[in-house]
Amino acid sequence: MNPYKETVDWLDRRIGIRALLHQQLTGYLLPRNINIWYTMGAVLMAMFGLQFLTGILLLVYYVPDTEKAFASVTMIMNEVPYGWLIRYLHVVGSNLIIVFLLLHMLSVLYMGSYKRPRELTWVSGFILFNLGLVFCLTGYLLPWSQLSFWATTVATDAAGAIPIVGDFLIEFLRGGPSVGEATLGRFFALHVMGLPMAFLALVGFHLFCVRRIGISAPPFGEEYQPKLTYGFGHEEHPNGVPFHPHYTVKDLAVVFFALALLVAITFYAPWLFIPLDALTPADPFTTPEHIKPEWYFLWAYQTLKIFPSEFLGLAAQGAAMGFLAMLPFIDRGPERRPVKRPIFISLYLLGILLFVGLSMWGHYS
């Protein structure tokens, strides 16, 4: 008697598990020239899974109260066994997620995988990227440190540059005229309930789009030909490699590399993401000097500074983000090979340089 076979047989008689596994895993064929950049989705799912797990564990001891939040985080770090490990994994993990989200987006842009018929996949992915940033912003306030308090004050204050509704928007975001108990309450609710639910729903839609439309073949090699699609059609790869075990093993290997990086930073350089101001409890009457946002918001911070008015800075950011969100509807040619898209690739490189340049300028200014 083989317990594994017995279990599969039992499931097969009830829900047809063998046909399902064949359809979704072993019989699901991917392009033969699929590359490592296609593993970013699996890496992100693993990293987000870890964020959910460590987040739930932090909730065991965290107290969302302005009088107790900092002390509860200090207790997690200093008194709870391995509390430092859980918190550092959560903090470092959130930063690495932004890195992997950027890499995922950059690879999709480079290979033109956002193009028709994958507009919805791109738009849902872009919203997921923004949700990731809001996750970071709301989570940043929760320790109720000087850094949390003032970073949130500055971030919410930026909304005031929007004409007419700016002042209302600031108060609405904060739940009052300044960052306080009401802000902590709404940011906490968003961070632990609202955003995760929206995020899971959107990830489900994103994966549905990926599976329904089919994996896009990398636009490299002699066999690649630009395709014009009109009606719906699942992109098949008849001579491809099975998703399982061929690609799942590669997915898993890259996931392990990402986790190794996470653990390495967690153990050897967690201070990269925990500056000194994060070690002092919030004081609404004392602004620390040289308060700066997290690295992934530095470009936005610097943009606001270089424009003559905050409104223009915000408008420039909105235009850039809006352009990215709508890219599949603007860039509609079927050609996906980077060498055949010199204008796009030039803009792509300039965009990366601008992001890095503005971020460094913001950091050192």
């Binding site: 564990l57 065991v60 008194e79 709870v80 066994p81 391995y82 509390g83 490990l85 859980i86 075990p245 061929h246 093993v249 898993l252 290997a253 392990f256 986790l259």
Partner: protein, 142 residues
Amino acid sequence: MDDATPKERRTFLTVILGGVGAVVAAVAGWPLFRYLSPIDKGSAEDLVRVARQEVAVGGAHFFSYQGRPAVLLQPSAGEFLALSAVCTHLGCIVKWVDDKQEFLCPCHGGRFSPAGQVLGGPPPTALESYPVSLDGEDILVG
């Protein structure tokens, strides 16, 4: 030496990843268990100080001892007893019945004497007692 086939390489990678995964899961299990285990507060909470005036003669004073409900009695002037207030039947908290000078468990009617001995009902054993000493105007339990 022959080159390994793609299938052999994949099998090798699967074994390595499975092994590393098993080790990581095992290593991660211990911090997770410790993180969720009750925090040892040390010996600071082993000794509880209660003011003598809190415990009337013939009365009872409920307090927390090592995270559990406990009760202090003064059956006669200057004589103090400390007991667990957790019924030994199913863990309900006993209450002090002043006019009968005994404990009653409201859940299933268990009765205990001021010394914690079972007087009636389903409790299988006496209430746990704690050492008591006096320190000036305070009573030290533990």
